[in-house]
């Protein structure tokens, strides 16, 4: 693990702010791990805010909902921040189709809801893991075994990002209520709220509640699920197993907040907090954004720009995905939009490996990245796997520390793909 310059100062003091309603949203039908949804609407239909517009017959999937009231313009192939291109429902906001703000009708019968009721609400609300992996949340709430420990992931170890941090500060009560719901669903015996020590305010906010706070050292990738479990419980998830097998489940704070909103407010997941940041933005912000909003609208709202961005990243700088188009929309897992200047994004020349061992020492998964890289470059996939390629979590630490700027993560990803074949 490495200590990174966290660069959170750009936005950590910026309160959540709602982005004005976009004129059009492009809602991808695949925003989760699993089978993509099929559209439930067609061009010309009128949809209201929060209406379910995508679903599919499958075990692993999560429905999608309209993030504005309006008219369906088309279902198109559109830039997708993670998949490159994917089917998206285009909705033009139109006030005549329904309200543009949810008229929250808080549920009064929370105490009477059974675990089964809660799970159904969460599933119907289209909630996925909002820390980045987009794993449908209801599946984590239906474990094959009894789960005893719940870890709430508030580490937010990616540099620049402050979306979870602001949520922890401003929505502490709501997150706690969300935790209570998860506890009820799973019959959890012990809860840990894990936060890095570079967020003392967030730690303070949670101290008022009767939960174990686990203060983590600020090191990357502290918030990776497996690393978090090791840091909090000093246990490792065995290779090829899931946290369930240890009786542990990990949920991100943003996911838990979405769970709270779905159960308490009847609100499906159609908006989320996104940190829009970078040195070239005049007004970096933490924005509350409707799913499907093109990222160019977020950038425009935080402009003027000091210079043209050379690279735009969906997510943080360590694991985020570089975008080829600013038409790509915000999806359920978009926790940040990071703009890099030409200087910051300049590609560094790749040199020969000098075997300094930095990648080996820092690898949180205990792999030999430099050796996987050499094997991968020579297309010796079996050898790449023997050095642990399949155990790579793609955190990017090896590439970050490499003095020879070798494309370690890239070659490991390649080895993984080839291994599957």
């Amino acid at each position: 693990m490495v200590r990174l310059e966290d660069n959170k100062f750009y936005t950590e003091a910026k309160p959540l702010e709602a982005l004005p309603l976009p004129a059009k949203v492009y809602i991808p039908l695949s925003q989760h791990l699993g089978k993509p949804c099929l559209s439930l609407v067609k061009a010309g239909d009128s949809v209201s805010l929060g209406q379910k517009i995508g679903s599919v017959e499958a075990h692993v999937y999560s429905p999608v909902h309209a993030s504005v009231s309006g008219r369906v313009k088309a279902i198109v192939d559109w830039p997708h921040p993670v998949l490159g291109r994917a089917k998206a429902v285009v909705i033009e906001a139109d006030d005549s189709c329904g309200p543009q703000k949810m008229d929250y009708l808080p549920r009064e019968d929370i105490g009477e809801l059974t675990a089964e009721n809660i799970k159904n609400i969460i599933f119907d609300s289209g909630i996925v893991g909002m820390g980045g992996a987009s794993f449908p949340a209801h599946i984590k709430l239906n474990p094959p075994k009894q789960v005893e420990v719940l870890i709430i992931n508030g580490a937010e170890c990616e540099p620049y990002l402050t979306a979870d941090y602001r949520l922890m500060l401003e929505k502490t009560q709501e997150i706690i209520k969300g935790i209570e719901l998860v506890v009820k669903c799973l019959g959890i015996k012990k809860v840990f709220i894990a936060i890095e020590d570079n967020k003392p305010e967030a730690i303070k906010a949670f101290r008022c509640f009767n939960y174990n706070i686990c203060v983590l050292s600020s090191a990357y990738p502290q918030g990776g699920e497996k690393q978090l479990i090791k840091s909090v419980l000093n246990k490792e998830v065995p290779r090829g197993k899931l946290p369930f097998d240890l009786g542990v489940v990990v949920h991100n704070v943003a996911t838990v907040f979405a769970i709270y909103q779905s159960v308490y407010l009847n609100k499906p997941l159609f908006e989320r907090v996104v940190t829009v940041t970078g040195s070239i933005l005049e007004k970096p912000k933490n924005l509350l954004v409707r799913i499907g909003t093109p990222i160019k609208e977020l950038i425009a709202f935080c402009s003027p720009l000091k210079e043209e961005p050379a690279k735009i990243i969906n997510g943080g700088p360590m694991m985020g995905i570089a975008q080829y188009s600013t038409d790509a929309p915000v999806i359920k897992s978009t926790n940040g939009i990071l703009l890099l200047s030409k200087k910051e994004a300049a590609p560094l020349p790749e040199e020969y490996c000098i075997r300094c061992g930095a990648c080996v020492r820092e690898c949180p998964a205990g792999l030999l990245p430099c050796m996987i890289n050499l094997a991968s470059e020579r297309s010796i996939w079996q050898e790449a796997i023997s050095y642990g390629a399949l155990d790579c979590i793609e955190c990017g630490v090896c590439s970050y520390v490499c003095p020879a700027n070798r494309r370690l993560v890239q070659s490991i990803k390649r080895a993984k793909l080839e291994a599957v074949r």
Partner: protein, 312 residues
Amino acid sequence: MRDNLLVSTSPHLHKKESVKMIMWLVTLSLVPSGLAGIFIFGLGALWVMALAVAAAVITEFALQAVTRRKITVLDGSAVLTGLLLAYNLPADVPFWLPVVGAVFSIAIGKQVFGGLGQNIFNPALVGRVFLMASWPKYMTTFVKPMSYDAVTSATPLAALTEGKALENISYLDLFLGNRPGCIGEVCILALLIGAAFLLLRKYISWHIPFSYIFTTGLLSYVFGAKTLFAGDWISHILSGGLVLGAFFMATDYVTSPLTYKGQLVFGIGCGLITVVIRLWGGYPEGVSYAILIMNAATPMIDRYTRPRIYGS
């Protein structure tokens, strides 16, 4: 805003460090001991260093130009190899000796394998043992310290090997470098200053130097005299090229193991071989050979000292 955006795989952030920076900083860390060498042995030492460095850089440049590869002489690695070779030579050698050594180091020790990062053996040591095998007379004729004229003088280590006690050289003399020997190996104080810099900046770890020096000290204490447990281990550590070798040559990234565990094995192996050569071998000095032999063992050490994969 136009969509002519740069797209690449993550991560999009990089530590501010480069191979070039590391090479030049290691070179910088060798400066104190070079200055000490000049002070102790006179300007002849400076000439040897200049010739070795120049020959190394020119050889690298020429070979890269001839084979039409990228010219990388500014990355500091050839300078470092030349300098380390010079540090392993006596101050009073004919001018062509450092040149031949440096050419051999770069050409045979490094470029035939494909250049930086590809070589199996430490290039400076390859050059040194080549000179040692070819011109042993020049390689073992040392200048008397602080006299600045060429006088054949046996090194303290040679005396130690012959079982003689060191009579007229104190530990302090050994520590400060007031003894015959190679240019860059004599002043332990200067070497430790450079080593401390590298350790503090985390360019090297303590594992190889510590295990190497500890093993050498321990074994020379146990076996270094006619009776067991009576060896002059302090002299064994302070004389010869042990400190230079342990901190600056055995720690060469390219030719040493990747993991800390492997580095400990490597250091212990170096110590063992050094003591065997020093006490029972034909040469008084064993550091160069010990490191080269362990270089050959590095791939095997790497194989058996892999880190534990998370969850296994």
